[in-house]
Amino acid sequence: MPLPLHELAHSDTSSSIVRLTQNGLEVMSQEPVAEIVSSLIPKRQLAAGEQYRFHFDMTKCIGCRSCEVACNEQNGNPADLRWRRIGEIEGGTWPNTSRYYLSMGCNHCLSADCLRGCPVDAYKKDPHTGIVLHSAEACIGCQYCVWNCPYSVPQFNPERGVVGKCDMCHGRLTSGLEPACVNACPENAIEIEIVDQLGWRSDHAAANAPGMPNAGHTLSTTRITLPEGATAQFERVDIETIRSEHPHWSLVWMTSLIQLSVGVLGCTVLSRHANPIVLTLIFALTVFTLNISVLHLGRPAYAWRALKMWRRSWLSREVLLFGLFFAALTLFSAASWSVVVHPFFGTRFLLAASKVIAPVLGVAGILASARIYLVPARPAWNTVHTPIDFLLSSAVLGCASMPLLLHVSHALDALPQLGAVVAMDKGASFPISLFILFSALWMLNHIVRTIRLSRSAMYELRASASLLNTDSLRGAFLVSFAFMGVAILFSLANQPFLALPSAFAGVLTARYLFFVSVVPLNMALTFVRTTRA
């Protein structure tokens, strides 16, 4: 059986496809039933400026899901990862109801966001075939591509620690065999075609379909044949199937803690309270935080690779900026110790320079970190409220820490050995009004964000708001505000040891909600499906 199955089935008219009874012969001889169906993969080589693409014929698909199973069998994937997925759309009123199916793998976009965001260059748009290829070897499992793809195509495989996705069965296609899904489809609804990239760039309307995100985001190459004269307004059947996303705990902690670090550093510098002890504490906190951050990766051992694509990926830039922030902070701490204990030549200059550079790099890192989340494929993140929240969280936590740090410094000051190191003004204080101001702004930002989400015309934004209002998340939402309110009360009561943890808990809770309540862009899926956290 060396030939692709469809060729065998259709090219030989004398084969079993034409099976006649004796009585039926006369009918049949007038009307040939089986005719050669063109091959489901292109017969010619690609020319320059062309690439392969999927063609999906919605009018042929019967929603049997053979393609999904064939795909998983082809790639040996676990049951809960499906590189090809089926979705259902429905419209009209009984009995004039219409329902259709979508079957999609990767759309092998002309302007692929997965590729652009990847910090390690694991993606490649194959120059010959145009297939968007992913390398499991290069991948470090940061999952940024998962966030970037408007079709939720790349999927993280926790068993491997890396992402995987449809490669149009590149290995089969290049040896003249059709992809597994194409091969499996009993209705020939999926085929591989050649598309002229330039032409498609200017007109890609045929990539759009009900239940699919706008093809214009990333220039999806998949051509979809829609039913003719369909008058019904189609909707995804899973429109109410909203599930909370992965919380990414290490990122919840990492972003919150690094914002704390930068916030405290900024406050100490601005209020001229930067002393070796305080800087050492911030240094220790930053070391801890950066170590937590790698736990987010599927492959922490290769975290260093994340620096690779700093020219293109905001994730690389974040890593780079926080790395530089850490270096500057280290220098700052060292210089400040050196000045006190044993000044070398130039340490005073270093101290002065790092005092400016470290906080600036920290703030830049926070902005880069916020920029990571400004991706069109995750609409609830892609708002101005994200960078505002990150900066305000930093300010809130910084301000909340100051009274506590001063308190500690005062206590240390009493120790004769450390008196010189701390060199603290007696009675130095930090205005709590700043803390109250920032925490009020922080809460305002969250309230405005939530109202805007709930009133949005965009489904995914509204869905995020309704997710925040579900039984499982509503409590956390209210608790995040309660923590912040209590923090204000504590700070008014001059209880810095309680105010900071409370404010931090508020930020953590809100950050958790930020991660779980985002509803990504995706193709329509089926109504009943497995719940995943």
Binding site: L5, L8, A9, S16, R19, T21, N23, G24, V27, M28, V33, A34, E35, S38, K60, I62, G63, C64, R65, S66, E68, V69, A70, N72, A79, D80, E90, W94, P95, T97, R99, Y100, I140, E159, R160, G161, G164, G171, R172, S175, L177, A184, C185, P186, E187, N188, I239, T241, L297, G298, R299, P300, A301, Y302, T526, F527, V528, R529, T530, T531
Partner: protein, 750 residues
């Protein structure tokens, strides 16, 4: 220990990404593919799920099935398979397989040897039969067995265990089609073939959602591909099924109004002169009364009963009547009814009056359910004698007695109890011992509460199955672990009478054994092995004998050997069409045109139970999910049941999508279903799939049965829908836990 720790650390750090497990390789036959699916050997076989009968190749490596492929040379599926078939190799290594005989001792199912199991079974049955008579034993078989096994079982039960109370789960499925064929044509036997769908001008599907249930038949009705013959697909179904979406004309009839529609079409055909007078004259009887009878089924009346417009009825009749060849296919929408058998007769009427039978593209055609339901009909010793013989025909009985070399009075002259009557007999205490083979009535039988009572009532319950625990085997006194598809050799017959070869690709797990071997062992213990199965060693001996039994009959197996069947990718007995000469299996050779009144279904909705519940399937699952729940991928796609409700009703009841709802009938309550609000279901009706034991639709369904076929009316009963109270909900945590424990078990195995 140390290496395990190192591995875990390497996994955690991402140094180890399980490259080997996810590696690709080159399969010599199928090219680039996951290394895990590269086979050493490919074995031809036939799919063990539904009766479409797709040819497949199972790839094995190191005595494990690693992949499945459609057989491109097989005329049924031409290389294609549905999602269940494509993942069928996974069931062979599923963790839920029954691996050892289990006997209930002090209330606990305890592993025992095969000797002890068979010894206990025979002793207990004999002892019960001595006290209550031979017929106190009831046996319920299945369409899952090989034809050879089914034939062997029939002899064992009727001649060895000497009880007539032998039936199959096919009574829950195809019995109405069988009875309908017998009513009209004098014999069982679907007259057409799949090929007819390609040569017909009009295809009328009634109560057949082939896109979900027989997906590989859909390409036969494909009209969009270049070169395919232009033809019209009409789908009659109260629900906007996937199949309805393929249709040119969808007739969303009111539940159980199909007889009115069929009679109404006949009325218009007669009125418009679109009937084949010559055919009627030469090959049928009863037309005159029929014509008179259907004259009352005016378009006006039919429109009122069916909920269609007069124009729809009229146009459908014209489409059917003007077709040069018209094909009618049906499945459970027709069969699952108290009027199933006569509805089949009403379908046959249409074919007979228009002469749409016995030629290419023209047939009334039942699309069967299980992989070998047809084989059980041909070889079984249940509702009829092997080889489509009749109990009440002395000649048939003598025929068999001669072939078997036994006295003719050993062969009963009337059938015993049908499946529902066996259950009823258990409730009444007439049936004291029950033996279920490869079927799961605790999920599949209507009115679960009555069934549970019946199973609790018998003294000895034997469950022979490939899987354990199942909701039924859990209740058993004795569990016999059986080999399943892929572990034994024989034949299946598909819907179009195509006998296909089924081959063994791996050994059964643990001490599980082929049903055939189990039957022979029981016969041995009963002391009837030499008499019933002289010199038999394997299932091929059963085939050879069945060839002799079927020789000269309509279902004649004597024309082909196992080898020929395998080489030709299946062979149809009777050719592509039956009755090509217009000669039917009735005494006078004429088909019967019967008058079929249209009665409303039994349990009509009322103020207390306001909805009509419809039940059915989804493409990802097979029957009671003993198999497909074990295939992670399929179960992951559809892990739970749902209830479909029209938006109009949902807003009236103030329900929202994904709300947890309870379905209540007069018989029981199903709680915690996921609500799907959708326009594919009519107002006033709700639909739920029957696959799920956790939310078993048969807790609410009605125990009403067709008086002729004894098939249950699964499709309509009156229910009430309410929001599920918090305390009745299965926590999602609990469900997740079961899922992960499955995963764990699987990891340990691999």
């Amino acid at each position: 220990m140390k290496t395990a720790l190192v591995t875990r650390l390497k996994r955690f750090a991402g140094i180890d990404t399980q490259r080997e497990k996810y590696a690709y390789a080159h399969d010599p036959v199928y090219g680039h593919i996951s290394e895990s699916r590269v086979a050493e050997k490919w074995t031809k076989t036939t799919c063990g799920y539904c009766s479409v009968g797709c040819g497949m190749l199972v790839g094995t490596r190191d005595n494990r099935a690693v992949a499945v492929r459609g057989n491109p040379d097989h005329p049924v599926n031409r290389g294609k398979l549905c999602p269940k078939g494509l993942s069928e190799h996974h069931i062979l290594s599923a963790p839920g397989r029954a691996k050892e005989p289990l006997l209930r001792k002090n209330g606990v199912l305890t592993p025992v040897s095969w000797e002890e199991a068979i010894e206990t079974m025979v002793t207990r049955i004999r002892e019960i039969q001595q006290r209550h008579g031979n017929e106190s034993l009831g046996v319920v078989g299945t369409g899952q067995l090989l034809t050879e096994e089914c034939y062997t079982l029939g002899k064992l039960v009727q001649l060895g265990l000497r009880t007539r109370n032998n039936d199959g789960n096919t009574t829950l499925c195809m019995a109405s089609a069988v009875s309908g064929y017998k009513l009209s044509f004098g014999s069982d036997g679907p007259p057409g073939s799949y090929a007819d769908m390609e040569t017909a001008d009009v295809i009328l599907l009634i109560g057949a959602n082939i896109a979900d249930n027989h997906p590989i038949l859909c390409h036969r009705v494909d009209r969009s591909s270049p070169g395919t013959k232009p033809r019209t697909l009409i789908v009659v179904d109260p629900r906007v099924t996937k199949t309805a979406m393929m249709a040119d004309v969808h007739l969303a009839v009111k539940p159980r109004s199909d007889i009115a529609l069929l009679n109404g079409i006949a009325h218009i055909l007669i009125r418009e002169g679109l009937i084949d007078h010559d055919y009627i004259e030469r090959h049928t009887t009863g037309f005159k009364e029929f014509a008179e009878f259907v004259s009352t089924f005016t378009p006006e009346h039919v429109a009122a009963v069916t909920g269609l417009t007069e124009q729809q009825v009229y146009e459908t009749a014209l489409l059917y009547g003007r077709a040069r060849s018209a094909f009618i296919g049906w499945t459970m929408g027709v069969n699952h009814s108290t009027q199933g058998a006569v509805t089949v007769a009403a379908i046959n009427n249409l074919a007979l009056i228009t002469g749409n039978i016995g030629r290419s593209g023209a047939a009334p055609f039942s699309i069967t359910g299980q992989c070998n339901a047809m084989g059980t009909r041909e070889s079984g010793f249940t509702a009829s004698l092997p080889g489509y013989r009749k109990f009440d025909c002395a000649e048939d009985r003598e025929d068999l007695a001669r072939i078997w070399g036994i006295s003719v009075d050993r062969i009963p002259s009337a059938r015993g109890l049908a499946y529902p009557d066996i259950i009823e007999g258990a409730v009444q205490g007439k049936i004291r011992a029950l033996w279920f083979i490869a079927t799961n009535p605790a999920v599949s039988f209507p009115n679960y509460n009555l069934l549970k009572h019946a199973l609790g009532n018998v003294e000895f319950l034997i469950v022979q199955d490939g899987f354990h625990p199942t909701p039924t085997s859990e209740l058993a006194d004795l569990v016999l672990p059986a080999a399943i598809w892929g572990e034994k050799e024989g034949t299946y017959t598909n819907s179009e009478r195509r006998v296909s070869k089924v081959n063994r690709v791996v050994s059964p797990p643990g001490s599980a054994r082929p049903d055939f071997d189990i039957f022979l062992d029981i016969a041995d213990r009963l002391g009837v092995r030499d008499e019933l199965y002289p010199g038999w060693q394997n299932s091929h001996d059963a085939f050879l004998e069945f060839q002799r039994v079927s020789a000269g009959r309509m279902c004649d197996y004597s024309h082909f050997t196992w080898k020929q069947i395998e080489e030709s990718n299946g062979l149809q007995w009777g050719g592509e069409s039956l009755y090509t000469d217009g000669n039917f299996a009735t005494p006078d050779g004429r088909a019967r045109i019967l008058t079929v009144p249209c009665d409303p279904f039994v349990e009509q909705p009322d103020t207390e139970y306001g909805f009509i519940l419809n039940t059915g399937r989804t493409v990802e699952h097979w029957h009671t999910r003993t198999k497909t729940a074990e295939v992670e991928l399929l179960n992951d796609m559809v892990p739970n049941a749902w209830l479909e409700m029209n938006p109009v009703d949902a807003s009236r009841l103030d329900l929202k999508p994904h709300d947890r709802v309870t379905v209540r009938s007069r018989r029981g309550t199903v709680v915690d279903l996921e609500l799907r609000i959708t326009g594919i279901i009519a107002p006033g009706q709700v639909f739920m799939p029957f696959h799920f034991s956790e939310t078993n639709s048969n807790i609410v369904t009605l125990g009403a049965f067709d008086p002729i076929s004894r098939e249950p009316n699964f499709k309509q009963c009156a229910v009430r829908i309410e929001r599920t109270a918090m305390r009745d909900r299965r926590s999602s945590g609990k469900r997740l836990k079961t899922h992960t424990s499955n995963l764990k078990e699987r990891t340990e195995l691999t």
